[in-house]
């Protein structure tokens, strides 16, 4: 039960972070270059992603479960440690926080500087930028869903969490009609990094035949241990490094 809740929360938050980043790109390009070609790019990327998942998804069921857990666990662990490391450095003031407002402004400026949008036909700049943004962020969501879901036989739960996150982010984006600047992205990445690293450690260990004390409950212990050490690291950085450096600019 507890691992199912953690799995849902992890897949939901990780997908929400990626959805916010994709939405920022799509909004910036759509506002400057027009919506038709931008939405065509979004639709093309979504179809390509759905096709890739539909083709590759069933193939996962053919792999031996221990191999699947080892490979996916190791990838989740590596990916999760990258997120967690960046989130700790940002929370400690060593790296600037990601600012969706600034990212939106930079993307909008780049779109404005590009070749003017044609009055007829497809605007390939808008199409390509929206396509790339949705495809790359979508691939990360797909990887997270497969990682969280397949190794525990709960692909439906992870996919549902990701779908709920994407729908929520898009709905809020449509209501706000702007970049989601108030989403505490670094805090989300911190939590997701802890969850990815914990689940990755657990499944990679399972794939190697490790007997975890408490079985599935070991995930809760790993979350607590990795979360505590990460918080202490961020606090240590704030105390030792932040006073020595000028306040980081939001970029």
């Amino acid at each position: 039960m507890s691992s199912a809740v953690l799995l849902f929360v992890g897949a939901f938050l990780a997908s929400a972070v990626e959805a916010v980043e994709a939405l920022t790109i799509v909004l910036a390009v759509g506002v400057v270059r027009g919506w038709r070609s931008t939405l065509l790019g979004v639709a093309a990327a979504t179809i390509l992603l759905a096709t890739a998942i539909a083709v590759l998804g069933p193939a996962l069921g053919e792999l031996p479960i221990s191999t699947l857990r080892l490979v996916v666990g190791a990838l989740l662990l590596s990916f999760g440690l990258q997120w967690l490391r960046k989130a700790i450095l940002r929370a400690g003031g060593v790296k600037p926080l990601r600012d969706e407002g600034a990212a939106f402004a930079a993307e909008r400026e780049a779109a404005g500087d590009a070749t003017p949008a044609p009055s007829r036909g497809v605007d390939w700049y808008a199409f390509t930028v929206a396509f790339k943004g949705v495809l790359l962020e979508g691939l990360e969501v797909a990887f997270i869903v497969i990682g969280f879901g397949s190794t525990h036989g709960r692909l439906g739960l992870a996919a549902g969490a990701a779908a709920a996150a994407v729908v929520l982010v898009v709905a809020v984006g449509l209501i706000v009609r702007g970049p989601l600047e108030r989403v505490p992205e670094n805090s989300l990445k911190f939590v997701v990094g802890v969850l990815l690293a914990s689940f990755g450690t657990f499944w990679a260990g399972e794939g190697l035949g490790v007997d975890w004390p408490g079985d599935d409950l070991a995930i809760v212990g790993l979350v607590a241990l990795i979360g505590l050490v990460s918080l202490l690291l961020a606090r240590g950085l704030r105390e030792r490094w932040a006073p020595l450096r000028p306040a980081p600019e939001h970029a």
Binding site: L77, R85, L89, G92, E140, G209, L225, V229
Partner: protein, 67 residues
């Protein structure tokens, strides 16, 4: 850059990221855990211990480089 080059670069940044030492350390930890398990040692502690060491080391290196 060719399409293949871009795909390889995406895979590298996705799996290895900014600090290759963490990825190399994880690989080493997985091999050590596998060897211990094969020898009949209960090695559940090995991966969490390695993960914490690698995380602390990587954060400290980055903070030193930035400071």
């Amino acid at each position: 850059m060719s399409l293949l080059g871009r795909i390889l670069r995406f895979c590298w940044s996705f799996v290895v990221g900014d600090d290759w030492r963490v990825a190399a350390g994880l690989l080493a930890a997985l091999v050590v855990t596998w060897l211990l398990q094969r020898e009949g040692v209960s090695a559940w502690w090995c991966l969490p211990f390695a993960v914490l060491l690698l995380l602390i080391g990587s954060v400290r290196r980055e903070a030193r480089a930035a400071g």
